[in-house]
Symmetry: C2
Subunit: 142 residues, 2 copies
DNA sequence: TCAAGATTGATGCATTTGCATCTATATGTT
DNA sequence: AACATATAGATGCAAATGCATCAATCTTGA
């Protein structure tokens, strides 16, 4: 079994590109005094869940985080006043994460920054066809 | 300025794919009782540098790590006996990272595992043409 | 019904990270 | 030469991570 050059190149470009782009978004967030991408992802999932909120264990597969990281991310967001941990009637072991008004506001502010990055880093760099092709190729790898 | 659906999808697929694949490689390393990918990358760069070794500050752009992380990664690899930190005659502030025999052996063992993953996760999943196309699209994003 | 096992989510502890700063040496300017 | 500034790399400290484990609750099967 031999690894071809194109394999290595695809591999390296995949990870370098992903890391570099994320770094640029994180830098933009920091610049704007905003928390990091994982907070955005979590806030967005929790906001989409609506007033009922969402169970931490349902958040795990969305965020691709381990259980303990999810738990601690929620801790920090509670501390920051962006979400509430609400008791869960249907399962007393669990809880529900519910976004606060302040959380919604934060998510919106983050989106404003995020959006600009996505436009500059992806949309402006690749035509629609290329974006579709890229998505298809990436999906073959998952 | 509006973010189109294909933009979001390319963005998400890029990062999810990268993370997922890396997780699988890391899992394979852990499985085989080997250190993590960043050790591999560092060992490889240092080994390629030959007997002269390489200056930490030259390693930084290769590894895409911040200075302090590079410094501490070298610490740990010294502790593990995989590299030596050699005094640098031409610049007394600095040092040179030189791979040890044990380090070469470790890199080779890691490559055996790594290679298998690359074959299974990339080479078997995408034909050569697709790999080339993917690389090209990713390069447009960097 | 009740014990055995599974699941939810939190947490103690050691390691790693991120940031800022420090020391030491090198370089550039007058 | 003498000083100011820049650069290389290490490090103290606070925060975040990874791992293992815990308590509480739920589910299942006899």
């Amino acid at each position: 079994m031999t690894i071809e050059k194109e394999t290595t190149q695809a591999w390296q470009n995949l990870h370098i590109t992903s890391r570099t782009l994320i770094e640029q978004v994180e830098a933009a967030f920091k610049q704007a005094d905003l928390p990091s991408l994982s907070w955005y992802d979590a806030l967005w999932e929790i906001e989409k869940a609506g007033g009922e909120g969402i169970r931490p264990n349902a958040l795990i597969p969305q965020l691709l985080l381990p259980q303990y990281q999810t738990s601690r991310l929620l801790d920090r967001m509670v501390t920051a006043g962006l979400i509430d941990r609400v008791v869960c009637d249907e399962d007393r072991r669990g809880c529900r994460a519910v976004i606060t008004e302040s959380g919604k506001e934060m998510r919106a502010r983050m989106w404003a920054t995020y959006k600009t990055c996505l436009d500059r880093l992806v949309q402006k760099k690749l035509g629609k066809d290329d974006r579709v092709t890229l998505t298809q190729l990436l999906q073959k790898l998952r």
